[in-house]
């Protein structure tokens, strides 16, 4: 290699890929760590006194904590030149903080979602004006306008359904009120209006609520990691993932070596066999899961076969919480079926790199297949097998859709599935714990790679010494 004339061309050619991987590989890793270890605006401080900005903080509650409402105080502030009194509710609540201690303190009404505020039937408009609508929806036809301060009777409380907004975020159900009141012209009108711009008099507040807002700074925390580890599903998913790896990999490697030897044995139609053996390379884990679901489901092919052979007289339920072993078996078979091809391809490339003379020499001296395998092929194949082993183990830590497709992901769960469930808006909706799972899977993969590489090196050293 000569560097007399520095050639910039290769660096320019590499630049796009480099930038891309920084953006979509490097950055998400940093982001994952940030999410897993940095707390952001999820913590609600409780104050020693109501309505005092600088009141001492008695403790902090995590978002989502259930609290008991002990007391309510209402503070009136004059707004808009004294035309309207704004009422601010402070609640004294008690709840359990992340460390497990019960703390008591004051918070603003809006920071705690109170499930059933009892519904009064009198209120007033507190926004500049509100539009009454024919239906409880923003898009509905406008009926009338009510100016600020108009007193209204609340005829009915309504709630919208859960829905997904245009920006993709889940919208909480909104409260709508059917109100009647007088317009500025003195005309009596009736229509639906959103809850927020209406001040409801004397709404008493129920005894329990849930922390839904918070303030706070970015700070390092182990809370999310602790939460992940303490979750009952954590050890369960870790155990299942490891069990799957231990059950799948050995069979997979034996099968892959057999497939590779068959392909290398110069049989007829070998290109057809290669095609068939390679098909699973292109099959997704979800499709593979569904394929094996057809076999193991209650009215599936396995039961059909057993029944037609007369071995059972009614279908056996393989996939149920009582038969976890059967679910594991189905997943193991599906993974072996789907993911052995990758190992096979790597092994075949390794075999092709073995000089033919070695194999022919073995054959010439009358070595049996097993002897050749044991003393010639496997030792020369070792580098390929190591790479395949690292690759397959790391891929196995990400196993996801196969498990969900076969078991629904509830009875039997794996790490990636837990990451998804914590992330899922319909489930736990906690991106921090989900990121902690991501980080954990990354760490495991890294650990496995380092472990394998070191094991290989010490073995080589031992061989060199011996």
């Amino acid at each position: 290699m000569k560097f007399r004339n520095m050639n910039w061309a290769p660096y320019l050619l590499l630049l796009p890929s480099f930038v891309y991987l920084i953006l979509f590989f490097g950055w998400p890793m940093v982001q994952a760590l940030g999410l897993a270890f940095r707390r952001d605006s999820q913590i609600l401080p409780l104050r020693a006194e109501p309505a005092v900005e600088e009141a001492a903080v008695t403790g902090e509650l995590e978002r989502g904590t259930t609290v008991e409402v002990l007391d309510v105080e209402v503070f009136e502030t004059q707004r808009a030149g004294g035309l309207l009194t704004d009422r601010v509710f402070w609640l004294e609540v008690s709840g359990t903080d992340p460390e497990g201690e019960t703390i008591t303190g004051w918070v603003l009404r809006g920071q705690v979602f109170v499930a059933d505020a009892s519904r009064s039937n009198e209120g007033a408009v507190r926004a500049n004006s509100v539009t009454l609508r024919a239906e409880p929806a923003q898009s509905a036809e406008a009926v009338a306008e009510l100016p600020r301060g108009t007193e209204v009777d609340i005829l009915e409380w309504g709630k919208t359904e859960n829905r997904i907004a245009a920006d993709g975020l889940l919208q909480k159900p909104q409260n709508w009120l059917l109100v009647s009141g007088e317009t500025a012209e003195g005309e009596a009108v009736e229509g639906w209006v959103e809850r927020a711009p209406i001040f409801v008099e004397d709404a008493t507040i129920s005894a329990t609520g849930r922390v839904q807002a918070g303030e706070g700074s970015k700070e390092w925390t182990l809370d999310y990691v602790k939460r992940m580890v303490r979750d009952a599903k954590f050890s369960q998913s870790l155990r299942t993932t490891v069990i799957l790896i231990l059950l799948i990999l050995p069979v997979q490697f034996v099968l892959a070596i057999i497939m590779a030897l068959v392909l290398q044995s110069q049989i007829k139609f070998s290109s057809l066999f290669l095609y068939i053996y390679a098909i699973p390379l292109g099959i997704s884990d979800l499709a593979a899961g569904l394929v094996w679901y057809t076999i193991f489901t209650q009215s599936g092919y396995l039961n059909s076969l057993l029944q037609s052979l007369g071995l059972i007289d009614r279908p056996f339920i393989f996939i149920s919480s009582a038969n976890k072993e059967w679910i594991i078996l189905a997943i193991v078979l599906a993974e072996i079926w789907r993911a052995t091809s990758i190992v096979m391809v790597i092994v075949v490339s390794g075999l092709q790199a073995i000089p033919r003379d070695y194999l022919e020499a073995g054959e010439l001296f009358g070595a049996s297949l097993w002897q050749r395998l044991r003393h010639i092929i496997l030792p020369l194949l070792k580098p390929s097998l190591q790479v395949a082993l690292i690759l397959r183990t790391i891929l196995a830590f990400q196993v996801f859709a196969v498990v969900v497709a076969i078991s629904g992901g509830d009875v039997i769960t794996v790490l990636a599935n837990e990451a998804y469930r914590w992330y899922d808006i319909g489930a736990y909706n906690n991106k921090n714990v989900a990121a902690a799972y991501s980080g954990f899977i990354m760490l495991l993969s890294l650990g496995v790679a380092v472990f394998y590489l070191r094991a290989v090196r010490t073995q080589e050293e031992r061989e060199a010494a011996g």
């Binding site: 044995s265 049989i267 390679a278 569904l290 057809t294 391809v345 075949v348 990121a435 990354m442």
Partner: protein, 298 residues
């Protein structure tokens, strides 16, 4: 492994019947035939192990819904019916999701190929400082669980405002496929003889022309194979897709999300529908498989 085609026994002699040979040779030939039969038996058994489950789900996908729910199940789609498949394709969201999947996979193919082709060419053709380090880090990234990074990426996408967009899934899938594509494309370029490129330059092409007129046409089949494989990887990917989308689901994300809400006909037809492209695409790229994956061991 069990036989070598042209060795001592067979060569130029006139046809010899086995039973005329000495006993040891007879025995050796019998043993060889037996081994050969064994090899075929194993080869066919493995092929059946792979094909049979595909046949079974295909059977269900092309049986009438009543037959799909029936028990015990039939082993062949008789009577043949496209009703279940039609039901799946007409189910809410399936066609848009299929379109999304094709768009995502297409974008991923374009982006991934556009970025990896120059990088692969650089690794294959130039010697430069940091080449080995770059190759090694690509190998490391290749083995990394990139898919898991969809979770933090989704949070970033929300802040940036490109969450639940078809192209943002393609961005993630490009990151996912890029390391593999770079390695494959570089091995494809490396297999184009350097002499041809040099000859083109001797005859007056500049570097760009030489690449365009000589290297690219020769490398095109390999690059196309890698592009097809990229397409399949993206078409199949489900974790990142389900994390990064809500309404604009890709097909696997839609099916996964609706698994617990849908009946068996939907699942079976969906499973079969998803695996059809791989049956076709693998056929076209099978010659390049070892280029693609063999690479990784070097």
């Amino acid at each position: 492994m069990t036989t070598t085609p042209t060795t001592q026994t067979a060569a130029p002699l006139p046809r010899v019947r086995v039973r005329d040979l000495p006993v040891e040779q007879q025995r050796a030939i019998r043993a060889r035939q037996l081994r050969r039969a064994g090899t075929y038996a194993v080869a066919i058994a493995v092929a059946l192990w792979i094909l049979l489950p595909i046949w079974l789900i295909g059977t269900l996908a092309f049986s009438a819904p009543a037959d799909v729910r029936a028990y015990p199940k039939q082993a062949a789609p008789i009577p043949f019916s496209t009703e279940t498949m039609e039901f799946f394709l007409n189910a809410e969201g399936v066609l848009p999701a299929t379109r999304n999947s094709i768009v995502v996979a297409g974008l991923t193919l374009l982006l991934s190929t556009a970025i990896s082709a120059p990088a692969g060419y650089a690794i294959a053709r130039y010697f430069f400082r940091g080449r080995d380090a770059y190759r090694l880090s690509i190998l490391a990234v290749r083995a990394f669980p990139i898919v898991i990074l969809a979770v933090p990426l989704a949070v970033t996408f929300r802040t940036v405002g490109i969450y639940d967009e078809v192209y943002s899934v393609a961005l993630m899938h490009t990151a996912l496929t890029l390391p593999t594509t770079i390695l494959v494309v570089s091995s494809v370029f490396a297999s184009v003889p350097r002499e041809l490129e040099e000859a083109a330059k001797v005859f007056g092409c500049n570097a760009v022309e030489a690449f365009w007129r000589v290297v690219l046409p020769l490398a095109l089949p390999g690059v196309a194979a890698s592009a097809i494989f990229t397409f399949v990887m993206s078409w199949n990917e489900v974790f990142a897709a389900v994390v990064l989308t809500l309404e604009n689901r890709t097909l696997p994300a839609l099916i996964l999300y609706n698994l617990d809400k849908s009946g068996d006909p939907f699942k079976f037809a969906g499973g079969f529908f998803m695996l059809v492209p791989s049956l076709i695409f693998i056929f076209f790229v099978r010659r390049y498989l070892f280029n693609m994956w063999g690479q990784i061991t070097k």
